[in-house]
């Protein structure tokens, strides 16, 4: 009897919690899944068209997404929290070109026909990484330390 009462109370609480959670969800429509117009070649400057708008969901000016050279270097800030905005133009595989977690070769080798890309680890990074690691091992860890360590483990046992 006591067990049944507990189940009923828990059920009512969960049901009310679910209803409350649903009522908390924003009624706004989602950001466009696909950009409605075909974009031209080269890096887009969003603010050229969306001059004063705030991106839906991200709640920040479209200018924050202008693909300036600075944006390309620091795009992690946008990609981390606003991947919906990225996804309106970029397929998911675009990220995996460089951020594959476990990849068979450096991005600069895979895209050696594209020297204009800002690929990391150009040249003989095998030599250079010993110095970079001395200066700041936490910079390696941010991408490689938590998962992709098989190559590291070949020497660092």
């Amino acid at each position: 009897m006591a067990r049944n009462s507990i189940f009923k109370i828990v059920g009512v609480v969960l049901g009310l919690g679910f209803l409350m959670a649903c009522s908390l969800i924003s009624p706004e429509t989602s950001f466009a899944a696909t950009h409605p117009q075909e974009l031209g070649a080269g890096r887009p400057i969003c603010s050229e068209c969306h001059s004063n708008d705030v991106a839906k969901g991200a709640q920040k000016p479209y200018a924050s997404f202008d693909h300036t050279p600075t944006f390309v270097k620091d795009h992690r800030f946008q990609a981390n929290q606003d991947s919906n905005t990225c996804a309106s133009c970029h397929a998911q595989s675009f990220c995996a070109d460089c951020h594959g977690a476990k990849v068979p070769m450096k991005p600069s080798t895979r895209f050696s026909d594209r020297p204009d890309l800002q690929s990391p680890h150009r040249g003989d990074f095998m030599t250079l990484h010993r110095m970079e690691g001395k200066m700041d091992p936490s910079s390696c860890y941010a991408c490689h330390g938590r998962a992709n360590n098989e190559k590291c483990a070949a020497c660092h046992r």
Binding site: L24, I25, S26, P27, E28, S30, T34, K56, A58, Q59, K60, P61, Y62, A63, S64, T68, P69, T70, R76, F77, A79, N80, Q81, A87, C89, H90, A91, Q92, S93, C95, G100, A101, K102, V103, P104, T109, R110, S112, D113, P115, D116, G123, D124, M126, T127, L128, M131, K134, M135, P137, S138, Y141, A142, G145, R146, E150, K151, C152, A153, H156
Partner: protein
């Protein structure tokens, strides 16, 4: 995940694309060849072949359901080029189903995916959800089995795998239009404490992190963002008399200011306390948690985008590591692109001055890390043909202990490409260089890139 499970998952996911109304397939096939002659070792010829494959299938029965898949496989056609001696390998980088709701930017992902909503940047086999809430709030969460490959020390392998049985994280944030955002996140990797294992382990691999992130964007010309991460896992008591270890794993903040339409200035400050930052590392021999070392760095860059297609970038960074010393890095780059982007070119130079470092080479304490780097490149497109040349030179101080007497390291890569159709491109590269391992190294590479499908989204 076991290989058999991966094959089954891959087959299931690929067959699901048959329901997609918009299916895109991206592939890159690469064949490389190089010979290596290293003193003390046999001559070796390497000819690895690598296949990348990505699939995006949208509108799977409903407009909101999609499937995303990306992986690669490689095999050595002659000598093994892998460090572990194996001649083949492959990996499923991600494979997940995604349902995007029409309301509240809500979405659900299930399968293997990468998540960066919480404090970490994690690869997970599991489920993730996110939605916007009323009043500018957002909430997201994920949970599943963490994707790792191996731990280094086999004695700890079982402890490590047992403790890392489950990973979960959540983030709760508040966004205010044209003001900014503040978020709080939590991540836990592993649920079993080391002391609670059947055979209690002296090393605890469980990772517990609490993060606070902030973004201030009052106008499009100013952006300040960053995060502070705390290590909230339990650790053994410190020995009496030792310095207190910081619980702050990381501060990382970046500000960007746009001056007019052509100039952008950025500044960054980062601080990481290694004991907290490397907590729960799966590579303890490299990312050591047994000392009180810390890193602190600050720097910035100025970028000028001239209307003539010229771009000038100057950057500087000061780095301080408590057990090594101070390092300064600076340099600049000039890029130029023609109006039709038929010619792109750039030249850059950087220097690293490590005059105040310690312990790297006790005999010559300040020479080891100092070096200079120069790079020049160009790329031309004429109709369906592309050609590029890329050269990089790294010049080190004489007697650098890492370089077996070599002072200059360089690499030159020449590439020719032919865009056969809108969706097919073939290209070939030849590179020549000198490294600490190989004084004269020539490499060849053939590449075929192709894309089939109907979806409009693409990539680079």
């Amino acid at each position: 995940m076991k290989p058999r499970t991966q094959v089954v998952l891959l087959a299931t996911l690929m067959s699901a694309t048959a329901w997609g109304q918009e299916v895109s397939l991206y592939g890159t096939t690469m064949a490389q060849m190089w010979k290596q002659e290293t003193p003390g070792f046999d001559k070796a010829t390497f000819t690895p072949a690598t296949q990348y494959l990505g699939i995006d299938a949208t509108k799977l029965g409903t407009d909101n359901l999609s499937l995303h898949l990306f992986g690669w496989g490689r095999t050595d056609l002659s000598d093994a080029s892998n460090f572990d001696g194996s001649k083949s390998g492959g990996y499923l980088n991600y494979g997940y189903l995604q349902y995007r709701f029409d309301q509240a930017n809500a979405e659900i992902k299930a399968g293997r995916f990468t998540t960066s909503q919480a404090t970490g940047f994690e690869q997970v086999d599991g489920v993730s959800v996110r939605t916007d809430l009323r009043g500018g709030f957002t909430v997201s969460a994920f949970g599943g089995k963490p994707v790792y490959f191996k731990t280094v020390d086999p004695r700890n392998q079982s402890d490590y795998e047992y403790q890392r049985d489950f990973i979960f994280g959540t983030r709760f944030a508040w966004r205010m239009p044209k003001v900014g955002e503040i978020g709080v996140s939590y991540l836990q990797d592993g649920t079993e404490a080391a002391k609670d294992l059947d055979i209690p382990s002296p090393i605890d691999y469980t990772r517990k992190q609490l993060g606070v992130d902030i973004r201030i964007t009052p106008a499009s010309v100013f952006d300040l963002r960053g995060r502070t991460v705390f290590d909230v896992a339990s650790h053994p008591d410190q020995a009496p008399g030792t310095r207190d270890r910081s619980r702050i794993a990381e501060h990382d903040y970046t500000a960007t200011v746009k001056v007019g339409s052509q100039v952008t200035v950025t500044g960054n400050y980062a601080e990481r306390n290694f004991y907290a930052f490397f907590a729960g590392t799966n590579l303890p021999s490299l990312f050591r948690q047994d000392d009180n070392d810390m890193f602190r760095g600050f720097g910035g860059s100025i970028t000028w985008n001239a209307p003539t297609g010229v771009q000038l970038v100057a950057d500087y960074r000061h780095m301080h590591r408590e057990t090594v010393g101070d390092v300064n890095r600076g340099g600049g780059e000039i890029r130029w692109s023609s109006s039709e982007r038929t010619f792109l070119g750039g030249v850059g130079a950087h220097w690293v001055n490590a005059a105040n470092t310690l312990f790297v080479d006790p005999a010559r304490p300040y020479r080891s890390l100092s070096h200079k780097e120069a790079r020049i490149w160009g790329m031309v497109t004429r109709g369906k043909l592309t050609a590029s040349l890329d050269g990089i030179l790294q010049r080190y101080d004489r007697d650098n202990p890492y370089l077996v007497g070599i002072k200059n390291i360089y690499e030159v890569v020449g590439s020719l490409g032919y865009q056969a159709t809108t969706n097919v491109k073939v290209s070939g590269d030849v590179s020549y260089g000198s490294t600490a391992v190989a004084k004269h190294e020539t490499r060849g590479l053939l590449r075929a890139e192709y894309r089939f499908g109907f979806a409009r989204k693409g990539g680079r």
